[in-house]
């Protein structure tokens, strides 16, 4: 972990990010990730970070931004994407990424970080729980409108 560097994502990182995401979801989404880079790759309130090993291999990524007054909530940091290479899990990569994005959110003056995870995604749910995250005072709702 000593050689791990967390930095902003660049266009040259997208191929590796797409690969990490594909390993977790089974889907390659190049257009989606290009859009994420355009929208969250710059700006003080947006963060698209990657964890890079000394040899240039990316071990993981995290995406989020500070959002104001959404759903009546005071400004808080939202994390809406995180991924780590399966072979590198349980080595502190995701923890380092969450710490880095939390630091960035803190510098923007927010004191809460929030995320939304599928109920059956035990791996990611367990990770965020292990980081001290608890249920937020909001309930996500949906309706089939098809």
């Amino acid at each position: 972990m000593s050689a791990l560097k967390v930095r902003r994502a660049r266009a040259a990182d997208l191929a590796q990010v797409i690969d990490i995401d594909k390993r977790a979801t089974g889907l390659a989404k190049p257009a989606y990730w290009a859009g994420v880079l355009r929208r969250y790759g710059r700006g003080a309130r947006c963060r698209f970070l990657v964890a890079e090993r000394a040899d240039g291999v990316l071990l993981g990524y995290i995406v989020g931004e500070v959002r104001d007054w959404e759903f009546g909530s005071p400004p808080c940091g939202w994390v809406f994407g995180i991924g780590v290479r399966p072979a590198e899990r349980e080595a502190g990569v995701a923890s380092a990424l969450l710490e880095a994005i939390s630091d960035a959110f803190r510098r923007q003056g927010v004191a809460t970080v929030r995320t939304l995870i599928a109920r059956d995604n035990r791996l990611v749910l367990s990770f965020f729980r292990s980081q001290g995250m608890m249920a937020a005072p909001v309930i996500p709702l949906e309706k089939d409108i098809g």
Binding site: E90, R119, D120, R122, L125, S126, R129, S130, G132, A135
Partner: protein
């Protein structure tokens, strides 16, 4: 999801063991800490032993020690040993009233959230939470 007494005993016990994995603890010690009879607790610990969460050490000074991976075992893994956590049984063939069906839908939603919560909190996370509460 309402937890039965044995389930709560199992959760408290396994957290005691997981907090000190290098130590073997006697049934008497744990029972005293949890204020239950050693006989009652022994039955709970045997179930935890069969599930591979604790290992019994026989003989004088014997007891149990934690042998699982606290970062992998979730609260739901322990709960499932003591509770019937399958889907609610259908209530016969007669047509149910709309209100009954609607209420079951809402209760099922609560149940799914409870399962997701128990299934995502590991023993290691619980120990961190206990530590934070202790310091707070």
């Amino acid at each position: 999801m309402r937890l039965q007494k044995n389930t709560l005993l199992a959760l408290y016990s396994v957290l005691e063991f997981a907090a000190q994995p290098e130590r073997q603890l006697s049934v008497t010690d744990i029972a005293a800490a949890l204020r239950v009879s050693p006989h009652h607790l022994a039955k709970v610990l045997r179930t935890l032993g069969r599930a591979g969460l604790v290992d019994s050490v026989r003989g004088a000074g014997g007891g149990y020690r934690f042998v699982a991976n606290a970062k992998r075992v979730t609260l739901m893994d322990v709960i499932a040993l003591f509770e019937d956590i399958g889907p609610a049984a259908p209530r016969g063939r007669r047509a149910r009233r709309g209100a009954e069906q609607a209420l079951e839908t809402v209760l099922a939603e609560i149940d799914q959230t409870a399962r997701a919560t128990f299934g995502s909190v590991t023993l290691d996370t619980m120990l961190k939470l206990i530590g934070r509460r202790g310091r707070g």
